[in-house]
Amino acid sequence: KPKCYSLLAIILLTMLILVFFSSGLLSPRSQTPGSPEVGARVKELDHLQVVTLSRMVYPQPKVLTPCRKDVLVVTPWLAPIIWEGTFNIGILNEQFRLQNATIGLTVFAIKKYVVFLKLFLETAEKHFMVGHRVTYYVFTDRPADVPRVALGAGRRLVVLTVGTYARWQDVSMRRMQAISDFSERRFRHEVDYLVCADVDMQFDDHVGVEILSPLFGTLHPGFYGSSREAFTYERRPRSQAYISRDEGDFYYMGAFFGGSVQEVTRLSKACHQAMMVDQANGIEAVWHDESHLNKYLLYHKPTKVLSPEYMWDKQLLGWPAVMKKLRYVAVPKNHQEIRNR
């Protein structure tokens, strides 16, 4: 009889322990302060852990002296617009280093676009997130043509083989699908932030952690001075990317966007789904994935906006005074030749 009771007691005790264990460990959301929904999401996106900055010496910011008098540096929804002069990279570098932030940079080199990889990667090594952990994700249909580029410490390159499409418009649009797929499968386990960039570009100047935030977009260099009616949004109501003429904050460029893995996953999924709906309805947005990106960012305001310093074309646009630095610039190319081969 005593043997029976002790066995019973042991089983009951183990059950109790397992129940407590599972409820405590497996559902961390119940412990988050605040209302469960907001608390959980806030915690997810809360990349600013408690980091204690070391003593730093830098000039005092002056309340009565705006950092830039010639441009807008904060959006109406209080997201910073990143221009040279708005940030102190020393403070930001320390904040992100202390979090041990890892940044993923996705780039698509499909068909002939593999020729751009060497310059892209070499200049990225010099200017992109130097001093931080970086993983390059190179999507290509020609893995053998990916050049060997010497990478700095804490930086690695991953080649991801993807299928290709005949039309360059499809190649461009299917990027959203690839990003959303790989984000869920892989990126969220490997990196904290994702930056999605075009490959036919090079880094000419510093592009660092000042851009990192839950969701960021970049101002298109051709439209930063235009009024919203002139933005080349998709204007046909039938398309999912439709934006009416009285709406719109900025015209964002499809070639450089990013954020936390979670937000980029949401964005790319939403854009891909919208493009599929359009395809089913027999319509293609005027600027393809860029149109859908603009629609998304209109209704999901980015938490940082990058100035056209982060997306420029020297050949077409020269070097106006308002651009103090040209950081990420187009590589001159022959569109006709390169696109459909």
Partner: protein
């Protein structure tokens, strides 16, 4: 035989129980969570608003961005309707802590009445009034979704002690209660009055306000604690802004960490027999140097009415009530 069957039965229940809980956790992750992202969804733009002008020429303006890219909030930097549109659907609850100890209970009436008119209109608000005399707290009618809690605390003979104990009281209150009741928390001084709208533009992870007396002054002249022995010591070459102890806040978890750390620093000083030059405000400033706020409020959100209003401050929202301090602190 009977015993064995019982044991087997219990073992089976145990197995089923654990496998169900594990399964539940996985399913929970698959179930479509109603996605209301961090703070910036805007599902339907019902309000038309003017396009932001990128190439600005504005002569007399305040700095709008700190060097670590935290926005400095002042009139003209944000669109209130747009922010309202973004934050309203999130169903947030905002908490406010005020301390009304001793004669300071006289300020509660005006504070609450002005808060009813201007503070976070249209949101759920919880006012937490900490006082040593709950009977002296007036019953001020509050709008729907707005509640008042009077929390008794111990009074002290010295006003400095009362001031410094606030950090401890706030962190304990968050741990006990506020973390379940509010999403964001503001810690405000009670001897002040709201004069203009204070809305969701002030919400952020960790929010500080620039002290109205020192916004135009070089950091050498900031009244930081300058004695090395204090935990609040700030060197001559350090410091961004001098923040006011009368206004700070943020997400409730962040405010907890912040107030707890300040309280620890105050205790360290106490053990060394030293009290910082401006009590908890000194410790607050020390902490904000090494843990930069994610949002900074311009002096519009913490003004001193005795000062003349400069043209760069367009809309004073929260300011001091003219009072005879000697009478109060006795």
């Amino acid at each position: 035989m009977h015993r064995r069957r019982l044991a087997l039965g219990l073992g089976f229940c145990l197995l089923v129980g654990t496998s169900l809980s594990v399964l539940w956790v996985y399913i929970e992750n698959w179930l479509p969570v109603s996605y209301v992202p961090y703070y910036l969804p805007c599902p339907e733009i019902l309000t038309q608003y003017p396009q932001p002008k990128l190439l600005e020429h504005r002569p007399t303006e305040l700095l709008t961005l700190t060097p670590w890219l935290a926005p400095i909030v002042s009139e003209g930097t944000f669109n209130p309707e747009l922010l309202q549109h973004i934050y309203q659907p999130l169903n947030l609850t905002i908490g406010v802590t005020v301390f009304a100890v001793g004669k300071y209970t006289h300020f509660v009436q005006l504070f609450l009445e002005s808060a009813e008119e201007f503070f976070m209109r249209g949101y759920r608000v919880c006012f937490y009034i900490f006082t040593d005399d709950p009977t002296a707290i007036p019953r001020v009618p509050l709008g729907p979704g707005r509640h008042l809690s009077v929390i008794p605390i111990q009074g002290h003979s010295h006003w400095e002690e009362i001031s410094m104990r606030r950090m401890e009281t706030i962190s304990q209150h968050i741990a006990r209660r506020a973390h379940r009741e509010v999403d964001y928390l503001f810690c405000l001084d009670v001897d002040m009055v709201f004069r203009n709208p204070w809305g969701p533009e002030t919400l952020g992870d960790l929010v500080a306000a620039i002290h109205p007396g020192y916004y135009a002054v070089p950091r050498l002249q900031f009244p930081y604690e300058r004695r090395h022995v204090s935990a609040a010591f700030v060197a001559d070459s350090e410091g961004d802004f001098y923040y006011g102890g009368a206004v700070f806040g943020g997400q409730v978890a962040k405010v907890y960490e912040f107030t707890r750390a300040c309280h620890m620093a105050i205790l360290a000083d106490k053990a060394n027999g030293i009290m910082a030059a401006w009590q908890e405000e000194s410790h607050l400033n020390r902490r904000f140097i090494s843990h930069k706020p994610s949002k900074v409020l311009s002096p519009e959100y913490l003004w001193d009415d005795r000062k003349p209003q400069p043209p760069s401050l367009k809309l004073i929202r929260f300011s001091t009530l003219d009072k005879d301090t000697s009478w109060l602190k006795s």
